[in-house]
Symmetry: C2
Subunit: 146 residues, 2 copies
């Protein structure tokens, strides 16, 4: 599947290492992750080569093409929130799903909309360990596909 893996660029990158582990496992499992470059240490500097408008339009086009949005939300950032809200807001007109991830120990600091979400097209996973996380996400993707 085509997976839009979202992780904050300018916000708190506390979970970027878990997102990298997840990205590697998704690719090993045969999925495509066109947003992989956002996990690099120099992502903010690389993005600076584009205008904000070009970044927005590129990412919205990618979101349009993806089958699933996997959103790592431990950094509780606007961009990740926007993407989750947009995909769910449009989900009556598409077949897209969202898998929303956050580190369990961040629960008291992040938006209540992350642990509190009850949208039927969103599966939320609170995790402690990146390896355990990847297995849970792959199981959700198998469910979505079948």
């Amino acid at each position: 599947m085509h997976i839009y893996l979202a992780c904050t660029v300018r916000g708190d990158r506390v979970a970027v290492e878990a997102a990298r582990v997840l990205c590697a496992r998704l690719e090993e499992a045969g999925h495509t992750v066109p947003t992989k470059h956002l996990l690099a240490d120099d992502a903010d500097a690389s993005e600076a080569a584009l205008t904000a408008r070009a970044v927005y339009e590129r990412d919205m086009a990618r979101l349009e093409r993806c089958d699933v949005l996997i959103a790592e939300a431990s950094g509780s950032s606007y961009g990740v929130g926007f993407e989750v809200g947009y995909v769910l807001g449009r989900s009556a007109a598409t077949t897209k799903r969202v898998v929303l991830l956050y580190k369990q120990d961040r629960e008291d600091r992040i938006s209540r909309f992350i642990p509190g979400i009850t949208h039927p097209r969103c599966t939320t996973i609170a995790y402690n360990d990146p390896g355990e996380l990847a297995e849970k996400v792959l199981a959700v993707l198998d469910d979505v596909r079948s």
Copy 2:
């Protein structure tokens, strides 16, 4: 009009004072702002009386009832991003509009999706002064209503 005025609760509250000035001007102009309590200094503590799920469901019901979402995004938070994305994602099926606000001097620190957004149902205002901001927002609301 019924206005959902969004401002981060757990994120960076750098613009809460500007949001309060705006809220007061909206009420003076005859608008209703049911999310006003989120601008109080003790908003995070008050919200703790509810579960995350109850907060999410209350806010989604409010979002459903509002005519316009005004989102103060200078704190670049997940919750505000989610609300903006959700309203715009659903906007083909509703008549809602978004007015997105950010402090000009935060542009290099916030998500590129804030200054970069080009969605036709979103009007973005970068501001320096809260008084000037309120006048600009009231002018946009007059346009929306007419």
